[in-house]
Amino acid sequence: MLLKGGITVSGNRCKRKEILEIIENDARLNAEQIAAMLDMAEDEVVRIIKEMEEEKIIAGYFTVINWDKVGEEKGSAIIEVKITPQRDLGFDAVAMRICRFPEVKTVRLMSGAYDLVVYIEGQTMREVAAFVTQKLAPLEHVLSTATHFVLKTYKLQGTLVEEDGEEDRRLMITP
C-alpha cells in the first residue's frame, strides 16, 4: 500500500521508528539534521513528526532536569495505590481522575501487589504529604496508598545525573 509521496506503509513505519529513536535521545535536533542523518527529505521528516504528534505517538518534548542540583527544595514520591476496579471501566476511570492532578507526573497500571504506581512532585515534602493525605487517599475507589519519598536521584530517563558520569576520556588524536 502506498502513502503520500510513494512511500509504502512498511517504509513509513521504519522511518517513523528511526526518527523516534533519534529524538528520544535528543529532542533538540531539528528536521534538517534528522533528514541528513536518515537520508530523507526535510519536509518528509516534518510531515512524519507532525503525524506522530497528532497520533500522540510523540506525546511531548521535555528536558531531563536534575532538580537536586538546582539547590531548591523539591519533594517527590512514588506512591503505590490500591483501587477498586469499576464495572465496564476497570481501573481507567480512577486512574484518569488521578492523572488530572498537576502534581502527578506519571501514572502506570501495574501487575502485582498494588494497582497503580503514581509519581508525584511538589515544592516540598510537606506538600507531597498533603497531596497524598488530602487529595489522593480520600478519592472514591482508592482503597489504600503506600508512599515512598525519593531521597536521591542517580539516573533519570536513561541519563546518569551524578557528577562522575562517563565523560569523554579519549585522547584528542589517535590513529
Binding site: 529513536e21 535536533l29 539534521q33 584528542m172
Partner: protein, 416 residues
C-alpha cells in the same frame, strides 16, 4: 669525565630509519590547546557497554587474575569460532586455528614476523593505517605501496596488485573497510584480487577490524572467498565494533601452521592477552550483539550527516562506506593537508588528521572521524565551513598532483 658515547649509533638502524607517526606530531600540537572539538580520534566515542565492564569486574571478583594459555581462553576462542562461522561461513578449529592477541596491532606484528624474511616485499594499499609499513620494515621486509586515489575511490583492484607483484612479493595486507578513507571493497573486487593472490601464491593478511562497521552493502570476509581460507591470516578484534579499544584484545584466525608459528612469537614476547580483557571479550560475544548494532546504527546516521556537511561546504568527499572516517578532498583550499589541519586547529579549534599521515597518497585530504556526538559534529562542521569559506574568498585553488610531497608556489593559480 664526559660521556661521549653515541648511543644513537647503538640503536637498530631499522628502528632509526622509521619515522615517528605523523599523527603523533599533530597530537602534541592539539594537546596544548583548550576547547578543541576533535574529529581526529580513531576510536569509538561510546564507552564499553556496561554489561561488558560488569562481566570484567565479576571475573576479577572470581579471581581471574592469572595467565591464560598462550592461545587465550578456550571459551573465548570457541565463541570467536562460532561468531566467524555465523558471520562469514568459515570454520576454524578453536584449539589450533585461533590465537587471542593484544589487539589487532599485535596480531599484525605476529603475522608479519611469522611470514616475512629479509628482502621480501609486501603489498600495502596507500593511504592506509599507519602501522603496516613500519611493522613490515621492522621485520626486515620492504613495503610496496599500491597507490589509490580519489579517482578510483581509494580502492585497490586486481590489476594494481598484479602489476606490483615481483618474484620477491610475499603478501598483501589489506584493511577493509579502510582507515583512513572509509572505502570498502565489495565481494566482486575481492574475488578478483583473491584470484591474483592465489595465482602468485601470496599470503593475504586481512585486517577486518572495521568489518562490522559496514554501512553500504555487506562486508565480505576474505577467508570466505574460494581457496582463500588457508592462505589468509584474518585479523580482527573487539576495539571498534564493541567500543573496547583500551582493553587491547583481538584475535588472529588462520591455518594451523600460521597460528602455531605466530603463537611461538606470542608466547615468548607477550605470553598471553590480559585475562580480564579476555573475560570482557567473551561477554561481548555472548551478549553484545544488539548493543553493538545500535552503535553501528548511530555511526551510520552520523555518516550521512557528515556527507551532507562536506557537500554543503563544497569539499569533494567520496562516500565513506565503512569504518567511521570521512576523507574529504581539501585541495581546493590551496592548502596542504598539514597546513589545513594546523590552520583549522588554530583558527577554529577543530582537530582533523592530515591525510599524509597515512602515506603520501593522502596528501590533499584530511581524515575526519565521525565518532563524535551529533552536537560536536554539528559545531565542528559549522566552524570548518567558516574556515573553508574564508579560504575560498582568498581565491586560491591548487592544481595538485597526487604523490607530490609538498606544495609549490607555481602549483597555485588564481581563480576569477
Amino acid at each position: 669525565m664526559t660521556n661521549t658515547t653515541d648511543w644513537k649509533a647503538k640503536i637498530n638502524p631499522l628502528v632509526l630509519g622509521i619515522q615517528p607517526s605523523g599523527i603523533r606530531r599533530f597530537f602534541d600540537l592539539v594537546a596544548e590547546m583548550k576547547g578543541v572539538i576533535s574529529l581526529g580520534v580513531g576510536e569509538p566515542d561510546f564507552v564499553t557497554p556496561w554489561h561488558i565492564r560488569e562481566a570484567c569486574m565479576y571475573s576479577l571478583e572470581k579471581g581471574y587474575t592469572m595467565y591464560t594459555s598462550n592461545h587465550g581462553l578456550l571459551e573465548l576462542r570457541e565463541a570467536i569460532a562460532r561468531n566467524i562461522a555465523a558471520a562469514c561461513g568459515v570454520a576454524y578449529n578453536p584449539r589450533h586455528e585461533i590465537l587471542i592477541t593484544v589487539g589487532v596491532s599485535e596480531g599484525l606484528d605476529l603475522a608479519v614476523r611469522t611470514i616475512l624474511c629479509p628482502g621480501d616485499e609486501v603489498l600495502i594499499p596507500e593511504p592506509s593505517y599507519v602501522s603496516y609499513a613500519p611493522v613490515t620494515i621492522m621485520a626486515g621486509a620492504k613495503p610496496v605501496f599500491l597507490k589509490t586515489s580519489a579517482e578510483n575511490g581509494f580502492r585497490i583492484n586486481a590489476a594494481m596488485v598484479e602489476k606490483a607483484i615481483t618474484p620477491k612479493t610475499k603478501a598483501l595486507i589489506l584493511c577493509n573497510p579502510n582507515n583512513p578513507t572509509g572505502a570498502t571493497l565489495d565481494r566482486k573486487h575481492l574475488l578478483e584480487i583473491a584470484e591474483v593472490v592465489r595465482a602468485h601464491d601470496l599470503i593475504f593478511i586481512s585486517d577486518e577490524i572495521y568489518g562490522r562497521l559496514t554501512y553500504v552493502g555487506e562486508h565480505t570476509c576474505v577467508p570466505s572467498l574460494p581457496g582463500m581460507r588457508d592462505r589468509t591470516i584474518l585479523l580482527d578484534g573487539f576495539s571498534k565494533a564493541y567500543a573496547m579499544t583500551g582493553w587491547r584484545v583481538g584475535y588472529a584466525a588462520g591455518a594451523q601452521d600460521f597460528i602455531a608459528a605466530m603463537t611461538k612469537i606470542h608466547q615468548y614476547t607477550m605470553l598471553c592477552a590480559p585475562v580480564t580483557a579476555q573475560a570482557a571479550a567473551l561477554e561481548a560475544l555472548r551478549n553484545g550483539e544488539s548493543g553493538m548494532k545500535k552503535m553501528v546504527d548511530q555511526y551510520n546516521r552520523r555518516r550521512r550527516l557528515v556527507i551532507k556537511a562536506f557537500h554543503e561546504m563544497g569539499l569533494p568527499c567520496g562516500e565513506p562506506r565503512g569504518a567511521f572516517y570521512a576523507f574529504p578532498d581539501i585541495r581546493s583550499t590551496g592548502l596542504s593537508s598539514e597546513d589545513f589541519a594546523q590552520q583549522l586547529l588554530q583558527e577554529e579549534k577543530v582537530a582533523v588528521v592530515p591525510g599524509n599521515a597515512f602515506g603520501e597518497q593522502g596528501e590533499g585530504f584530511v581524515r575526519c572521524s565521525y565518532s563524535a556526538s551529533i552536537n560536536d559534529l554539528t559545531e565542528a562542521f559549522k566552524r570548518m565551513n567558516s574556515f573553508v569559506r574564508r579560504r575560498a574568498r582568498k581565491g586560491q585553488v591548487l592544481t595538485f598532483s597526487p604523490g607530490k610531497s609538498g606544495i609549490k608556489k607555481e602549483d597555485i593559480c588564481q581563480t576569477m
